[in-house]
Amino acid sequence: MPSASEGPSIAVDRLSVTYRTSIERSPTLSGTLLRLGRRQRTVRTTQALKDVSFEVPKGTVLGVIGANGAGKSTLMRTVAGILPPTEGRIEVRGRVSTLLALGVGFNRELSGRENVVLGGLAAGLSRRRLQDKYEEIVAFSELEEFMDMPMRTYSSGMYGRLAFSVAVNMEPDILIIDEALSVGDARFRRKSFEKMRELCGQDRTILLVSHALGSIRDLCDEAIWIHRGELRMADEPDAVIDAYTTFLDVGEDAVTLEDV
């Protein structure tokens, strides 16, 4: 039996993921029957990841960059075990927490408190542990007065703050943050950046997806660049970001503009 302390935290081996989406806006039985009658194809396939391989050693902070629709979120969902791979294999050692982690906000009619509790329980936390965590989450998000309001009344910044607070306070072995650093106002961004710096300094594997290249540069030990579903580059953050910005042809200005 392999020991958990051996080997990398995450090993992705020749991973491909294909989405099969129904072309209908929402799939219906009557629609399917109609189209079967007309012998039309009902699904469209999108290959979101092609033959991606990389390893993340334990304790590494890995930055993931790439254009919109490159497949970053898909990769994160596969590592978290939410999407099954179409081909290839992923090995993960440790408990994973995804951002928007815990599906916070899965029901906008429910209050912030109910969403945090339900999300935490679904993610496998015990009630006792969740109770301790809950206080920390609320304190960090500074949303005390709003926790009993339905989440549909939250502003998008408040929404993001709560999601970020949940994600970073769960103390998983592997933390996945998919574009959460740019939520909130300037003050909360500073605070979340500080929190990220603290987390990155600990012995924890982190995958950080962000378009804020400045934070990737500051926080990460390594970086990968995904381009149209393929792994374009894996190296030191500086090298990857330079190549990426050169490729995008935007120059450092555009990068610093969106910095935390």
Binding site: S5, I90, A123, K133, E171
Partner: protein
């Protein structure tokens, strides 16, 4: 496709992970996790691991049910009152309807049969209705958290069960006032309620998974459920069903359990062996079919929502 074997989500328990100095809190699970994700065709995940996870996260199902009830004002006086008045009114309306059709020949005994049957039927149909929505309405949670999805429809059955409980309070006086026998045989109601729950869970899982693929099932479901009531021995006694319609009763998963239900509550004796056997067979078949269908499909839900 490199392999046909089901996606193996293995968990090797390998002792405590390295101490984490920053963690003040004691971790509940001192076991570290090891997952392997591989491709699968439609197939079952390793059942042992699945059941283990399901059990670990049962609190989620309880809490979800509690939250749903809170949203339905279950905790308020009016909410509770509504849960009692609504089925009671329906029972009275159906009673008058059947009594008119039968030229006023129905007595209080029949009212007791009708109420008991109706409440049991509503437990099942309420479960199925709520379960059918459970997966589709949890989109974000499913996209962001890996957990045994089957907790969603099961939680719906639990919610329906809690809504069923207050109706017992209406039935008890009706039973007593109709002069129906009271005795140890009434204990048979407990396993029968369990049978109803199994049928509800089985059909609920089928409906929940099917809804992911065919969203318009939501609009068919009320018709299906209404027909289900009419072909069940609720608005009439099972023994009144003419020979040529007997097959419908046997093919209806609720036919046998509702017959047994009336035998215990109304006729005052233990359910006959054949009826009980058929009930059990239907419950097991539906539960297994529902679970297999749901669990073999659930890993696909994330890409389908």
């Amino acid at each position: 496709m490199s392999t046909d074997t089901p996606n193996s989500v293995q968990e090797t328990e390998t002792g405590p992970p390295g101490a984490r100095p920053t963690s003040v809190l004691q971790r509940d699970d001192e076991l570290s996790e090891h997952h392997v994700y591989e491709p699968h065709r439609v197939g079952l995940p390793p059942i042992g691991t699945y059941v283990k996870r399901l059990w670990e996260r049962r609190e989620f199902a309880f809490e979800l049910s509690r939250t749903k009830l809170r949203a339905q004002h279950f905790n308020t006086v009016f909410g509770q009152l509504w849960l009692i008045i609504n089925p009671l009114l329906l029972a009275l309306v159906y009673f008058v309807l059947v009594d008119i059709l039968r030229d006023g020949s129905r007595g209080p005994q029949f009212l007791a049969h009708l109420t008991a049957g109706l409440f049991a039927y509503y437990f099942v149909s309420d479960s199925v209705r709520q379960a059918s929505r459970s997966v589709v309405s949890a989109g974000r949670l499913i996209l962001n958290t890996p957990f045994p999805r089957v907790l969603l429809p099961l939680s719906a059955v639990l919610t329906a069960f809690k809504r069923f409980l207050p109706t017992i309070a209406i039935y008890v006086p009706i039973h007593a006032l109709s002069g129906l026998p009271v005795g140890w045989h009434l204990l048979w109601t407990l396993p029968l309620v369990a049978l109803f729950a199994l049928v509800a869970a089985g059909v609920g899982m089928l409906a929940a998974a099917a809804q992911v693929y065919f969203r318009d099932l939501a609009s068919f479901l009320p018709y299906v459920l209404r027909v289900w009531l009419y072909i069940s021995p609720v608005l009439y006694f099972a023994q009144e069903v003419p020979e040529r319609y007997r097959a419908i009763l046997a093919l209806n998963p609720l036919g046998a359990p509702l017959t047994a239900w009336s035998q215990v509550l109304n006729s005052g004796h233990a359910p006959s062996a054949d009826v009980l056997g058929l009930s059990l067979a239907w419950a097991v078949v539906l539960l297994v079919a529902g679970a297999l269908f749901f669990v073999s499909r659930e890993r696909e839900f994330a890409v389908r929502l």
